[in-house]
């Protein structure tokens, strides 16, 4: 019984169905273990975790320069900014907005920099459903290539205070 001290000699190798199951489960775990790095390189859809230290003030300055250099329009008073293909794009998270509106081109590759001015935020791109953590002090760089055109919504999915549900933004792909 599991509540009694086992009789002497309890330590023995598994046999029969139990042994087969342990072997099967282990083999499956090995497959899964290999799949993870395999798909990282094969699928080429994962973040490499590229990131740099940055203070909120430094990041805000870069965002400001980026907007000044590449603004192409305005929507609801928010700048629409089109980064050069192959270049850097910036997205600033702040209670409770995503700044600015980015306009990207299908098939071009960008380095998307994200950081927060205050609390932790969650970058969530809908309806594609892609989610990344955005934190103050970290310049989180994602190398992205849009494969679909359209208007995408950015929402926040890390709790960031009472206005968390109001934190939305926009991303355009042409």
């Amino acid at each position: 019984m599991s509540i009694d001290c086992p009789p002497p000699g309890w330590f023995r190798a598994p046999g029969g169905a139990e042994r087969a199951w342990v072997g099967l489960a282990l083999a499956w775990c090995v497959v899964m273990t290999i799949m993870m790095p395999f798909w990282h390189f094969r699928g080429k859809q994962n973040s490499t975790g590229e990131s740099y230290a940055v203070t909120p003030a430094q990041f805000a300055e870069r965002v400001g320069k980026f907007v000044d250099a590449h603004q192409v329009g305005e929507d609801e008073g928010w700048p629409v900014v089109e980064p050069p293909p192959g270049g850097d794009a910036y997205l600033q998270a702040q209670m409770w907005s995503w700044y600015p509106i980015l306009k990207l081109r299908k098939g071009q590759t960008y380095r998307l920099h994200m950081s927060s001015m205050d609390l932790q935020h969650g970058f969530a791109l809908l309806p594609l459903n892609m989610n990344f953590q955005v934190m103050p002090g970290y310049d989180h760089v994602l190398t992205i290539t849009p494969t679909q055109t359209g208007e995408f919504q950015v929402i926040c999915n890390e709790f960031c205070g009472i206005g968390h549900h109001l934190m939305t933004g926009k991303l355009l792909v042409e």
Partner: protein, 514 residues
Amino acid sequence: MPGNHLPGLVRACDTTGLPVCLDAQRFIRLHAVMAVVFLLIGGVAAILLGLTRWPAVHLLPADWYYRVLTLHGLNMLIFWILSLEIGILYFAGTTLLNSRLASTKLAWACFGLMGAGGALANVIVMIGKGDVLMTSYVPLMAHPLFYLAIILVAVGALIGVINYFATIYIARRDQTYEGSVPLVVFGATAAAIIAVFTLLHGAVVMVPTFLWSLGLVKTIDPGWYRLVWWGLGHASQQINVCAMVSVWYLLATLTTGAKPLNQAVCRAAFVFYILFINIASAHHLLVDPGVSATWKIWNTSYAMYLAVLASMIHGFTVPASVEVAMRRKGHDKGLFGWLAAAPWKNPGFSAFFLSLVIFGFGGGITGVTLGTQQINILAHNTLRIPGHFHMTVVGGTTLAFMGLCYYLVPLLFQREFHLRGLARVQPYLFAGGVTFMAMGMSFAGSYGVPRRHWDVDFTGATFPAGFDASAHLMLGVLGVGAVLSFLGLALFIGLTVAAVFTGRSNRGAPMAAW
């Protein structure tokens, strides 16, 4: 083997004949009562949350939603489960090893600190000074007493764990048992070992955060906080798994007389939990900046799957031991005749077996899926995450602990349950409700619906956003499941409280068979 009890401080159990240390019994009762109080608070919070996430009802205003969410996470995941686990440790260390509890002073300190910390945390959150959710990710800041309350609970739990190790030590020293410890004690010890390094992580992250909230430390790095916090947050889930699996073995024995097939296999699986689970906590950081892809992959692949292997082993050995026991009793018809003949009307058995199924199939499969780097990008911070853990820690651990209570009350409070028909139904109601709710959460999350979010229609936001009708339907499923599981939970609390305070005493006679 003679025990080491002082005269007058031990009784023989009227049902099993096992020795019951009366000191341990007192503290197990105290911890069980405290646990159920926390479960009640968490349960009231649960139904309020369920009715808020159900868009057609959308009950709470935004500030109260986040407040109640904080309350729910703390009371359920930490206070309810941890309080009961300390009781389980006391039981395993004394009754199963034929020993006395090492120290009543330590036991009082543990109970007092956990109770005081839990009460303080509830007060601070209720008065609106701790709207930071259970994870309290910096730089979100709560009142210093919020962090102090968590530290008190953790220190209290650590003292309880130390008392358990001291009990094992004196049992060994006084030779109250022979050979190796029973399997349930082995599993409980694995839980206790994991608890030690979990609580140490807790200290490493919570103490500086407490000082920061007092203004004594200038900044806390948010990436560092997440790394260490999840060393606490994830590893502590392995305490729950170890405790739950030990309870499965215990209930399998109590309800069907099951014996483990091969003790070495079961024990090795517990050792896997100890060795691998801490590094596996990297799966919480799969979409974080600051940690490299290599680090993420290394830690979430081999380490996580070896911990998963352990669960897969228990997922085989536990039902297999029940099968063998049932067949031995003559229920030998066909492939599943043993299962059909199992004591499904015994809430101890049904809670245990449903817990096994929900944890194994629902929780396990979603967990492994969500823990892969690729899928995590789709799932991070969506409702798929609470969908997963309501099948592990609620449909799994909490349900198993409910099953345990159907034996704990008659055996250690020596009181019988009233309304036994309702008790027989309770595990099914709770299991069904939780499964339904978790499915609603998981499917809504797969459309991208965020967790911890008050308004999925984004009313008043600068740029419109939202979800289609199918996502709303799934949030409705969440709501209906929440109502059902809340009814199951309320029924459990009602039956247990009624039994403890007004149940017929069974002193001097075996407990009424379920």
